[in-house]
Amino acid sequence: MSNHAHSESLELRVQFDTAEQQRDASTLGMWLFLVTEVMFFGGMFAAYTVYRNLYPEVFAICSSSLNAVLGAVNTCVLLLSSFTMVMAVRAGQLGQQKAIIWFLILTLLFGGIFLGVKAVEWKEKFDEHHIPGQAAFHLEGLQQADQGHAQLFFSLYFAMTGLHALHMVIGAGILLGLILHAKQGRYSASYYTPVDVAGLYWHFVDVIWIFLFPLLYLIDRHLGK
């Protein structure tokens, strides 16, 4: 590289004047990214809204075939993981390098549990032939004419929870990277932006689930059945 006045470091990259400016830019960047994510999931939520309005009874029956207990457990697990994520950021603020690592590992662990439970649920669906687009699809308690509409519900169920799970997997990858970097002692009270920004992402994925859970698992309760 050519010699110029600004020498680059993690804390202060060459395009920034101050560390504060750099941190603000990263945070704003992540918030904007989350806005794009809202729009991304928004398309799916729009499709959900349309079809649930068209076929409310079928959607309620389909919903009650999901395992609400596992869903609720997973909700708790995710909330816990958000808590440990917050603690990791807090540890960053205080510059406690060991604590950052441990809280990140805990967050990763809870994320892993969530994905494991999700896999069990999906497996159930396969065993029960609740896979849309397959000839064997059949949901008990529905007339033949409504089976197609039930497939719409399960299409949305798999698309939305699948997309959410994909975000969890990406989040897990990010956590792994952070843990490795934290082990190298990269983060301190003066520089923990990556932990902070990854935290925003993790909470966002959490919040998406908070919407998915009632919309997918709890419809029948809404109709008072």
Partner: protein, 541 residues
Amino acid sequence: MDTAVAQERENYLNASHGLKSWLLTKDHKRIGLLYLFTITLFFFIGGAFATLIRIELLSPQGNMVSSETYNKLFTMHAVAMIFFFMIPSIPAVLGNFFLPIMIGARDLAFPKLNLLSWYLLVIGGAFSLFAMIAGGVDTGWTFYTPYSTTYSNSWVIATALGIFIAGFSSILTGLNFIVTVHRMRAPGMTWFRMPLFVWANYATSLIQVLGTPVLAVTIVLLFVERVFQLGIFDPARGGDPVLFQHLFWFYSHPAVYIMVLPGMGVISEIISTFSRKTVFGYAFIAFSSVAIAVLGFLVWGHHMFVSGQSLYASMVFSFLSYFVAIPSAIKVFNWTATLYKGSISYQTPMLYAFGFIGLFTIGGLTGLFLAALGMDIHVTDTYFVVAHFHYIMVGGTMMAYLGGMHFWWPKMTGRMYPEGWAKLSSLVIFLGFNLTFFPQFILGYLGMPRRYHLYPAEFQVLNVMSTAGASILAVGYAMPMIYFIWSLKYGKVAPMNPWGATGLEWRTASPPPVHNFEQTPIVTHEAYDYTSVPAEEIEVV
């Protein structure tokens, strides 16, 4: 002679050498040039398909290619031109290069992300290119269901995947621009001192960030529907194909503003510079960009008047479409007012700006025809629509892009282009363009539908005119390509500020140093304040 003097001044082009120094660069200026090469390639590909389309339409019998091949030609023409040329064109090339310099920054906020965006465009382009070579895609660039999900036997998935990936390039560029404008402005560069080009790109970025993810999720749904036959858009299972159109146009109408807003920004710069006057109604132009970005999200239903959507929805969408005309007209009137009593010089960029204003106005006004419900039923899916959007995209954005390329070429390369040839080519392009597309308004009004290669014999004369115009247009586009390359070696060496313009990009060397400025500039003047340009800096060329 002193060796230090003989040695060339260090700039972003000669600071490092070798292919690797380009492919791994984090310099926004170099990345802008990488985009330039990439989109020029896609312009050629799209142009090749257009040539085949126009040759086919020389005769009414449709005797050159089969109707299936014809479907593929117009689809791939549009895919290449819209997603891989027009959407990245001005923001990713000129915006990338100049937005940071114009606000006095050393680079974009996220240089690595910027490089990643370019790679995403290349990867997305590779997928779509693969689809084109492997056999093509025939759904139209709109990918309407259920044809695209159930019936089409062409390379839908690969093409859609390419567009999906390129979409993230667009999203990340927008994100980068927004953060840069918010956080990287030089001291004294307040929001209302920013050049209007920056405002226009800022508004564009908002659309990219808010709209493109919806296209992405639409493609995901299309993908799972086509691969797994889930039924989401399949009426046989209760799905709704019109839902696809809603999702698609929710992105794709705003996308037309992704394509045109940056062009409007270029025009504001050029008009002011070559009439040596502050832009009339600066704040109105700045806010009209944002207004267009916002209103653009409320009118998508005007593409669906005949889709079977409710009449009330159509009426609302029609009404709102008229609203978009207001900010667009504000710009046109303000540019015209800027010219009034200006000291106008007719350099090439200015000629392109004039072309833009006239042609965009025609395109915009015919957009109002189309937004009128009754009129649209008559001309929808005819050549009238084709002419409308080509007047805006080719007559408008393409003119602005070329105008901007000429305007900033001296800064990007340090060389002047040959003015005489450039003026000639701009005239050739203007004439060729109008001869190509004006007859299409008439054809459409007379009832020639779009997307067919057969047509009644009485339409032949107008079609031959259109093809003749397209050949002239092709010559017009070839000329800058040649003399730009020629100028790299033989062009006059460009001074710092050849046009006597006011922007910060003209306060640094041509071509600029790696980090844009020797010293971070401190801004003390409004944009377009011509008293702030020291007279000795202006070298008339």
